[in-house]
């Protein structure tokens, strides 16, 4: 393929949302130079407004079915309905992270604009990542995301934040090394002219899929695939690559914890879904056994480790590991022809998970102290009485994460479990249900602490340190209320959303 034909394949309009995000990110930096210092507090709000406008445009395009679908940039990217869903997802996530960040940074003496700039760049990269159809594109997008997160995790420069950043850097580099090594092995073996289906363009997903299907038992190919999946497993926080999560989540500022827990994890699942349904011929191979094993271990580990956890950020991190397990269950189911629609269920679960997690993180971020190392669950005593909105939204969010009907989390789990049932993954389904039961213990312990006074055994001594509850601006209250309501409404009524997410 010569340069000219490649250039002709560049469909710039296909990545308009990503370009717009990039321009918005750059625009923030320009605004910082142009605006007088007194007006700098407007810049984050400009980011918020810009993202909302972009979200509106994106939703409008999707509702009109006017987006570009198909391959662009010579097959580096492929745009599809599921990609559009992920774009909306990341944009919603970044908007909420920006909102949380505005509140969190007001309590810090730190440069502000870079924070929002990096969030936007990372978001654009995540959008490209889940739409990439070529390992080079995938690697570049992934590294953009990861490098952005290295900075964001240690942004607050407290000792815990820096420690978290360092751990994330080292372990992230390690996982990138595995991923790269896997890609290299795949490239090498698929370029071997002696093997059937060998291709010069061996990093393109289509060619690679053809090759891997023809060489099912090739040892090098298997090692390559495993290494690539291990690299992605780090992103989603699946066992045994989940070990960094509690430390990093606790050290990062709450908005970034939320960004990691929701955005980064979803990006990992976007890639994973692409890989196992389009690139790697999972079939009845060792890869499938690996997926089943990892999903079960992830569900159990996340829930068990969260049982005794009292620090809320670590608790959200570990329970997030279990949610990664449920999602892996869905991804595994999606590799069975009987449950192809499970991709849609996974994306639906991600949306539900975002609404619930963001509700909880929004409350956490608002209540956070200056060091933002995470509150203990015991400190939430009387929250429901002192602030019904915060208590109510927290309870709805946690209830949805626990999967209690009639909240959205219940429907999300039911869809995943139905898919697993159709795929015949009975053992894994049993593990998942046991995990859900375990999770009720710690989620409800927290809800109980926040809402129910009578459950307290020891009366609090009058002089005890009370959690400070700051007044919340109207916009914040509306956002929290919308998140809570979305969780409620999606529990009762999923019609349009499930129709949109029906990719099967």
């Amino acid at each position: 393929m010569d340069y000219q034909s490649l250039a002709n394949a560049n469909t710039w309009s296909a990545i308009a949302p990503e370009i717009a995000l990039g321009l918005l990110a750059l625009g923030l930096l320009v605004l910082e130079i142009v605006l007088p210092r007194a007006h700098h507090r407007l810049i984050p709000r400009a980011a918020l407004v810009g993202q909302l406008a972009l979200l509106a445009g994106l939703l409008f395009t999707i509702s009109r079915d006017a987006g570009f679908h198909g391959a662009s940039f010579g097959g580096l990217l492929v745009h599809s309905g599921i990609g559009d869903a992920f774009r909306v997802f990341f944009l919603l996530t970044s908007t909420l992270v920006t909102w949380m960040g505005i509140g969190a940074l007001e309590r810090q003496t730190l440069p502000r604009v870079e924070f929002f700039h990096i969030v936007l760049v990372v978001t654009g990269a995540m959008m490209l990542l889940v739409q990439s159809h070529h390992f080079v594109m995938l690697f570049v997008a992934l590294e953009t995301v990861t490098v952005g997160f290295y900075i964001l995790v240690s942004y607050f420069r407290s000792s815990t934040s820096l420690e978290a950043g360092l751990k994330y850097l080292i372990l992230g580099a390690l996982s990138s090394a595995m991923l790269t090594f896997g890609i290299v092995l795949l490239y090498g073996v698929a370029g071997n002219k002696a093997l059937p289906g060998a291709s010069a363009n061996a990093l393109g997903f289509d060619a690679l899929h053809t090759f891997l299907t023809l060489n099912a038992g090739n040892t090098v190919a298997i090692i390559g695939m495993i290494l690539v999946l291990c690299g992605v497993a780090f992103k989603v926080g699946a066992v045994p690559f989940q070990i960094w999560i509690p430390d990093v989540y606790q050290g990062a500022s709450t908005p970034i914890t939320a960004f990691l827990a929701v955005g980064s994890k979803a990006a990992g699942f976007g890639v994973l879904l692409n890989l196992v349904t389009q690139v790697f011929p999972v079939g009845d191979s060792v890869l499938r056994h690996g997926l089943v094993f990892v999903a079960g271990a992830t569900i159990l580990f996340g829930n068990l480790a969260a049982l005794t956890q009292r620090n809320t950020k670590r608790l959200m991190g570990l329970s997030g590991v279990s949610h990664a397990g449920y999602l892996l269950l869905g991804v595994t189911a999606a590799t069975y022809p009987a449950a192809k629609w499970a991709s849609g269920a996974v994306v639906f679960y991600l949306f539900v998970y975002m609404a619930a997690s963001m509700a909880v993180f929004g409350v956490l971020s608002h209540l956070a102290k200056t060091d933002d190392a995470g509150l203990e669950t015991d400190e939430f005593v009387d929250l429901g009485k002192r602030s019904p909105l915060l208590g109510g939204v927290l309870a709805v969010g946690l209830g949805s994460l626990a999967g209690i009907p009639p909240l959205a989390g219940f429907i999300g789990k039911v869809l995943l479990f139905i898919a697993a049932f159709q795929a015949g993954l009975y053992g894994l389904l049993g593990v998942a249900i046991a995990g859900v039961i375990l999770s009720i213990y710690y989620y409800f312990g927290w809800i109980k602490m926040a809402l129910f006074e009578f459950t307290r055994v020891v009366p609090r001594e009058p002089g005890a340190l009370e959690l400070e509850i700051r007044a919340m601006p109207l916009g914040g209250r509306v956002t929290l209320a919308v998140l809570g309501l979305a969780t409620l409404v999606l529990g009762f009524f999923q019609g349009p959303v499930s129709q949109w997410l029906n990719f099967g």
Partner: protein, 627 residues
């Protein structure tokens, strides 16, 4: 524009809205709750009036829940029978709501009272309107709940709490049979819709099974306080008096009778025999029990049980009569059995609600004294209450040409035609009624006051007297044809009319019975007494009667303490050992230990974390290629 089903929906929506508003917003606002609840009751009366007199019959049904071939539906069946019941519930209910305004004045949790009253109206109207057994059962349980809440209204009294529990649990026994009956009916007919079942049985009478009929009757036995499940109703008098009048005299306890009439086509000859025996026995037995009571409300409660027995018997007798005399099969709209039972239900609702409200007025005036032997001389202190109560009294004992006379004599006439044995029992019951009511009437109203409370008695306010006066008029004239305008005239037109000779015989018999009872009461109690003359003068007879009254409670208490409690303790022990101990705590302990282990893996040491990654890689290597 206005359709019957829309009005029916409105009938349910109005009290439910009132109850929900009070529950969520006005728990502390007694005045608003009063206005809402009484306003709702007034609206119900208006809507019901429009529905009864201006609208035709209707049957609508919408599917609600479908599971395979089983489907539950919600719907309304509006026919002359439900219109009669609707009229009673809406009209008497409204009057009692108004009365409660005065009676509950100054109570601290008045909003809870009126919220529960609205909730009761919602549930009761649901029973009246339901077109299928499943929906009927749901509302049946809801009236049970509201009855439970209202009996235990005075939370601080342990006896009230115990009474509410007793009512609820006793009703469970009956409802268990009812539920099994419903399930069996579904197996038999593949539908629970009353109209459809009726059509099936009309096409093939052999489809009606005695078992189903008797199981459904179990529900009526519990709810209407028939033997042997009558024990809860006297205790239920722990609730506020308006509740006793509304729920435990006029409407809810009559729901069992209404149920029988609603499912009359499912009855078989054998089932009717059982129903008749239960009704007649209850009518007589409760009359015996009433004789020894000293609490004014308990006397009236046993009287209610007795009259409910009459209604059950009326249903059985009327249905048997119609089977024997096809030429008198009744008006097209109502069978003879349903008409006879519903006629007595209606007049009873008037005069028993009146008597309870009168008792409430007396209790209110006497500063919550309920022992009749501590009253006395009330006639002079509370003249309006006296006059209205007397109206209820003559109606209940069946004084000729008063409402109770017509409905009771219809029953006696049917008994004479169908079962002379039943007639003797029912006559004895009537004698007892006249006796114990005379005892109550003279002791409470005549002679001098027997305690400070009755000495300082005062007449009740207008808001309580007006409902009394309205009900008093109805208690007197409630048996007359002119009260029942079309379409309610089906009630009286469906009844067989005795020929002149029989009519005169009945009239004389009734008058003699009433006179005998009255004279007996007067002989024993004169114009009032400070203590129970029966107890002091004929001690062995009194002891026997008390024993008869208590024997059910004693037997049930013995059973609960010695049989049920033992089984429960055994099950409780097994539960502690196996489920709570082994399964719950055992698995919780395993999970806890694993949780601590998982947490201890989080060392915070980055070298350790890197080894995790490498270990993970190795694990996958082994998974892929073996060792």
């Amino acid at each position: 524009m206005l359709s019957p089903e829309l009005l029916a929906l409105l009938l349910l929506a109005v009290p439910l809205t009132s109850a929900l508003l009070i529950a969520f917003f006005f728990r502390r606002a007694g005045t608003i709750a009063q206005v809402l609840s009484v306003g709702a009751a007034g609206a119900i009366a208006l809507i019901a009036g429009h529905l009864i007199f201006r609208m035709g019959d209707a049957a609508v049904s919408v599917p609600w829940l479908t599971l395979g071939d089983f489907s539950l539906s919600l719907g309304f069946l509006i026919n002359p029978l439900s219109k009669v019941m609707l009229g009673v519930v809406a009209f008497v209910g409204f009057l009692i709501h108004v009365f409660a305004l005065g009676y509950m004045k100054g109570d601290t949790s008045i909003a809870r009272f009126f919220g529960c009253m609205s909730f009761f109206m919602f549930s009761m109207l649901g029973i009246v309107l339901a077109d299928n057994l499943a929906m009927l059962f749901i509302f049946w349980e809801l009236v049970g709940v509201s009855s439970y809440l209202l009996i235990g209204y005075y939370l601080e009294r342990p006896s009230a709490v115990a009474a509410s529990n007793k009512a609820f649990i006793t009703n469970r026994v009956g409802d268990f049979g009812f539920l099994i009956g419903i399930a069996w009916a579904w197996m038999q007919f593949k539908t629970l819709n009353l109209t459809e079942i009726s059509a099936q049985i009309a096409a093939d009478p052999s489809l009606a099974l005695t078992g189903i009929a008797l199981l459904l009757f179990c529900g009526a036995v519990g709810k209407s306080g028939q033997m042997p499940l009558h024990v809860w109703l006297p205790d239920a008098m722990e609730g506020p008096t308006p509740v006793s009048a509304l729920i435990h005299a006029a409407t809810m306890v009559a729901a069992g009778i209404y149920l029988l009439c609603r499912i009359h086509f499912m009855m078989t000859a054998d089932a009717l025999n059982v129903v008749l025996i239960v009704g007649v026995t209850t009518a007589l037995y409760a009359g015996v029990c009433a004789v020894t009571q000293k609490d004014i409300k308990k006397i009236l409660a046993y009287s209610t049980v007795s009259q409910l027995g009459y209604m059950v018997a009326a249903f059985a007798l009327g249905t048997m009569y119609a089977a024997k005399h096809p030429e008198h099969a009744g008006h097209a709209a109502l069978t003879v059995g349903a008409a006879a039972a519903m006629f007595h239900l209606t007049t009873h609702a008037f005069f028993k609600a009146l008597l309870f409200l009168g008792a409430g007025s007396i209790i209110h005036g006497c500063h919550h004294e309920q022992n009749i032997f501590k009253m006395g001389g009330i006639a002079k202190k509370m003249p309006v209450t006296f006059v209205t109560f007397t109206a209820g009294y003559v109606a209940l004992i069946g004084f000729p040409w008063v409402s109770g006379f017509w409905s009771k004599d219809t029953i006696l006439y049917l008994a004479g035609q169908v079962s002379p044995v039943a007639e003797k029992f029912l006559l004895a019951g009537a004698l007892l009624t006249a006796f114990y009511m005379t005892r109550l009437w003279v002791t409470v109203f005549w002679d001098r006051p027997k305690s400070d409370h009755s000495d300082h008695a005062h007449e009740s306010p207008m808001v309580m007297l007006v409902p009394l006066l309205v009900l008093a008029v109805l208690a007197i004239v409630g048996g007359a044809n002119l009260v029942y305008q079309p379409p309610l005239d089906a009630l009286v037109n469906s009844l067989p009319h005795p020929d002149a000779a029989t009519h005169h015989r009945l009239l004389v018999t009734s008058a003699v019975i009433v006179a005998l009872g009255f004279v007996g009461g007067r002989l024993l109690y004169g114009w009032g007494a400070a203590n129970d003359r029966l107890e002091t003068s004929i001690r062995p007879l009194h002891a026997l009667l008390v024993g008869v009254q208590r024997c059910f409670d004693v037997a049930y208490n013995w059973y609960v303490a010695n049989v049920q409690q033992r089984v429960a303790e055994l099950l409780g022990f097994l539960e502690h050992l196996l489920i709570s101990g082994l399964v719950v705590r055992g698995s919780a302990a395993v999970a806890g230990v694993l949780g601590i282990a998982a947490k201890s893996l989080q060392t915070g040491n980055i070298h350790g974390y890197v080894y995790w990654f490498l270990g993970g890689l190795l694990a996958f290597w082994f998974l892929a290629f073996g060792f």
